[in-house]
Amino acid sequence: MEERAGKKIFNGIAIGKIKFYEKADNKVTRRRVDDVEAEIARYEAAKEEAVRQLNALYEKAVVEVGEANAEIFNVHAMLLEDDDYTESVHNIISGQGLNAEYAAATTGDNFAEMFASMTDNEYMMARSADIKDVTERVVTILSGGNGGTDIGDEPVIIVAEDLAPSETVQMDKTKLLAFVTRLGSANSHTAILARTMGIPALIGVDIDAGWNGKIGIVDGYEGKFIIDPEMPLLEEYFKKKAADDEQKKLLQTLKGKENVTKSGQKINLYANIGSPNDLASVFENDAGGIGLFRSEFLYLESADYPTEEEQFQAYKKVVETMGGKKVIIRTLDIGADKQIDYFKLDKEDNPALGYRAIRICLTRPEIFRTQLRALHRASAFGNLAIMYPMIISVDEVLKVKEISKSVREELIAEGIPVGEVEEGIMIETPAAAVMSDELAKVVDFFSIGTNDLTQYTLAIDRQNSKLDPFYDSHHPAVLRLIQMVTDNAHKAGIWAGICGELGADTTLTKTFLKMGLDELSVSPGCILPVRKEVRDAD
């Protein structure tokens, strides 16, 4: 028995035979051809077929992992259609009278070498692998292969140095138990694809070709790869796997299903995220949109105020990746309890009731305007909505909207494209809940932040564990406020949702449906359990 540690990419347990995967070795032979015109035509046909395959992979990946992650296959197609690449292949065929396989392989090697030698540009060096990948595809087609990745007839754990995204996507998923690779990063295309396909995967494992054919266990929870497991351990893992499968099966059946009750009532289930890195789990769990994108990470990760451009890139990435699905981005929500050095906030006795969120934005408009410019610019790239936190009055909303409007007009005047933007507020203060009839007239939506709303309504500090016996997350006062906010939203013709922890509380899902809430935004892992509860409701 051997055990190796690895970095976990996707939770899950796999037990099965290890297959040591090596790239299909297209042994390219160099041979003379008489009819060079026919050979060029043969190359062109193979190229067309490769581009067709890549376009199909792109379409497949768009659905599975979103547009931004699928884009790699478009780039591959463009590389293959590049004039210099094509010219080089044609020259070798016609100039030297050699076969198309050899011409393509040589061209691919030359270009891959050119990129690999760009040692001052890590990004471009990595593109060398992309050129090899597309070249292999054409060569496989020319040699009569279908470009597919055959992994045999029995289910296996694939162990490899590295896997190209096109290889991962094409492997027969019914035969694929897990991936274990030495190379690759947690954010590589292959890692994202593994997560999306729901296959346990480990990277950074010190692999050994001698394992081929042995039994292996991939523990994606603990980040362990066990080779040749002994009996008591193997049995233990069979039990763990059975329990894990049961749970996953239950949830997988819910993917792609509507969030609809037996009587036909629908509700939107969106995801809460804290950074663009969470996007993979958004797709993995089939969220209908993003109900809360906390913009704080941009400020927390940075040593100084993030620039408009940095913010714009992050927001753009999220809205683009989500395609046309709604992305609600909450403006800066920090305060004395979430300290950021360069904001130089004073220490406060009562930070939860202090100088935070929109209060900082309204008194330091230069910070706010930078963020709003980035948000409005990103709105040109998808379905973006802006949400303002910690609102207590109509007057505040009017001020905020005035600033937002002037930012938007400024961008238009500069000739910078902007899209349509919904503007809504968090309902997290009792004041906002009580005034929700008036607030509903000046915003496009409400999202109820139940964590703060509960703390403020019950006057209970959640950080203080001594108060736990008094804390009741289902307190009728909070539930009544939620009902009131929802009713007031509907009276004004706008929608209301919940983005606090209570939204994921499945013992309340039926209550929320009865209250008429239009949306629940929960952490990605909670979407399918809540969907189950919705579909079980009458």
């Binding site: 884009e71 790699i72 478009n74 780039v75 463009m78 590389l79 590049d82 004039d83 210099d84 690449y85 270009f111 050119m114 990129f115 760009m118 001052d120 540009n121 990004y123 471009m124 593109r127 992309d130 451009e309 890139q313 494209p417």
Partner: protein, 85 residues
Amino acid sequence: MKEFTYVIKDKLGIHARPAGLLVKEAKKFQSATTITKNGQTKKLTQLMMLMSLGVKQGEEVTIAADGPDEDAAIAALKEFFEQNL
């Protein structure tokens, strides 16, 4: 001939995806379009060559167009750089 200079703002520089889109954009015009960095000039219609320049964030490039529709080409390319790079 018309030209403009531009400083790349994108974190990854002229990476694969915008490079591919840039080639598509350049091919829409009859004029010969080029990109120059540190005295090295490449045609904008050549993806591999364009990528081989390895243009990074903060670097300055000169874009030129020469031909019957050079004004339109420069206007479109300028907009492309401002929006994508």
